[in-house]
Symmetry: C2
Subunit: 336 residues, 2 copies
């Protein structure tokens, strides 16, 4: 018998999130508790509105998936086998809960169950969202111990935002253009980005512009990473030659099992790997962090951008991710 | 402290192994015992002479690798990180021993540690080596419960051998040409192979003839699998379009961790996966069998071709692989 419980949690953003279409101060995510043989595995879905998901559709998908689950111990394939098309966040929550259950059943942290070396965790970048130059400068001040900053660009004020960041810090910067540039605009910016100390650029062009990406990559002095252009492992072969690396997010790909397969495929193509996230609590962020020793770059800061994180798990020490040593994900409700 | 012990074992072949260059009745493999924190992990190297390895070079490589091992629990990366170039059989033995240790430390079968569904094991084929038509017919009789036969071809007597097999059984056949055909010879044989009930062909052309393979595949009515053309995950992208599937062998790729990465890469390219072996005892065969629920076809019969198997682990019931439920690999010395 497998029992599923789920409930929505509202995550309060430290800073108002601004987009062309409007602004928001909160995010909803769905917490999942999967009970099996006296143990409870935890998972979290942070549905991506861009792809037509929300907490209601994720909850419905989870109920359907759990109903068809026959071998909860087979965490490498079980969530994938029962996945509901178009609901990767729900699939990720189930996958995560199965991983947590496996670790709790075996009495070991997930990284140990998976044979991953917890000493090899990378630093994580910290994201500076788009805002006025004054607010951006204030955000950089708050980013204290983080060794690398990620700057969201892709708007009219690109240059002002990056200059505002660079004016107050000499840390390495990564730029996420979020599909916001044209080929010409990207070509114009590249040398300037290098001169500003940027070390990589994420998704400069819209996801479907692969030919333009090949052209951009041929002349780019900076490594270019796919985000919106890549969801699952099968997307990767066609990206070789168009990108230098990929950004894997559990909520895009459907969980840790698929994320590991993506790492293998990217490596086989000589591509670098970044592990990213949505706005998520420490539950989903910790799950992703267990895989971070396998990647080149981590951008696991979704839990650092909220004020009411209900969970604790992975921590950041001197900028570097530190995995918890409890069984499974090692996540527990935050102590008051 | 990690302690390494190793010793050679001589495996006696049921049937003399015939090649153009001569014949042999035995194979040597190297058994590895890795002691760590009071537990002993077992591994086996079956070095491949074609690639310049033998038990002595494998033993030397193992000593060097174990000396540089710092995190034995990190079975997903540890053997690969200390691997000696050109010694994948030694790397596989170390990887296997680390997997065995992980399962014994966690008190669970390896398939459970890896989150693999043991109920999904495939049938294994049974290999009929090249010989006179009379001996081939006798071998087929011995192949009792196996549902699929693999016939070694690639010699002058190809047609006689396949006809001798087909004369005494109606089971599905797989053909392994071992690089033995030319493009013209392969093209000539394909329709005939279909009419003989062959379901797939392994490595029809020499490993380096990728362009000819593309040509062959365009017209082939049968799926074509790479064996000598593929060693590790990074070899796979260039094979897309030239082969329909790959044959993964632990002794070629360096162990279970790399084998899992290869499965992911092959799947991302829409390719099928077969899990094969060398002449090996039940130690290495059982290790490979733990991954068999992840693949389409198993050819794990190396332990069935010898008369003095020193170990027991995986079994075959009604043609299908059945995984042992002991901790780790679940392999133990064969009871008298």
């Amino acid at each position: 018998m497998i029992r599923l419980r789920h409930f929505q949690q509202q995550l309060e953003l430290t800073h108002t999130f601004r987009l062309a279409r409007g602004a928001s101060d909160t995010r909803q995510s769905l917490v999942v508790e999967l009970e099996h043989e006296g143990l409870v595995g935890l998972g979290e879905a942070a549905p991506i509105a861009r792809y037509g998901q929300d907490c209601e559709s994720a909850a419905a998908a989870l109920e359907s998936m759990v109903e068809r689950l026959t071998q909860p111990s087979a965490y490498d394939t079980a969530a994938n086998e029962v996945a509901v098309p178009g609901q990767p966040a729900a699939e990720a929550a189930l996958d995560m809960a199965l991983c947590d259950l496996a670790g709790k059943r075996l009495g070991a942290p997930l990284y140990e169950v998976m044979g991953i070396d917890a000493r090899q965790t990378p630093v994580t970048s910290f994201t500076i969202g788009m805002d006025t130059p004054e607010v951006v400068a204030a955000k950089v001040e708050e980013a204290g111990e983080y060794k690398v900053l990620k700057v969201k660009m892709g708007s009219e004020e690109d240059r002002e935002i990056l200059e505002a960041v660079r004016a107050v810090t000499d840390r390495p910067l990564r730029v996420d253009a979020n599909e916001g540039w044209t080929l010409e605009g990207a070509l114009e910016r590249l040398e300037w980005l290098v001169s500003m100390g940027v070390e990589l650029v994420e998704q400069p062009l819209p996801a479907d512009q692969l030919e333009e990406m090949r052209e951009l990559r041929r002349v780019s002095p900076l490594p270019l990473f796919a985000d919106e252009s890549v969801h699952r492992a099968a997307d990767i072969p066609q990206l070789a030659g168009a990108f230098d690396g990929i950004n894997i997010k559990l909520m895009k790909c459907g969980g840790l099992a698929e994320a590991r397969r993506m790492i293998a495929v990217a490596r086989a193509h000589g591509m670098q790997v970044m592990l990213g996230c949505m706005v998520e609590s420490s539950l989903a962020i910790t799950a992703a962090a267990h895989l971070s020793p396998l990647v080149d770059h981590a951008d696991l800061d979704g839990n650092l951008l909220i004020t009411n994180d209900p969970f604790e798990g992975v921590t950041v020490q001197a900028g570097r991710l530190v995995l918890p040593d409890g069984s499974g994900l090692g996540v527990r409700p935050r102590a008051e």
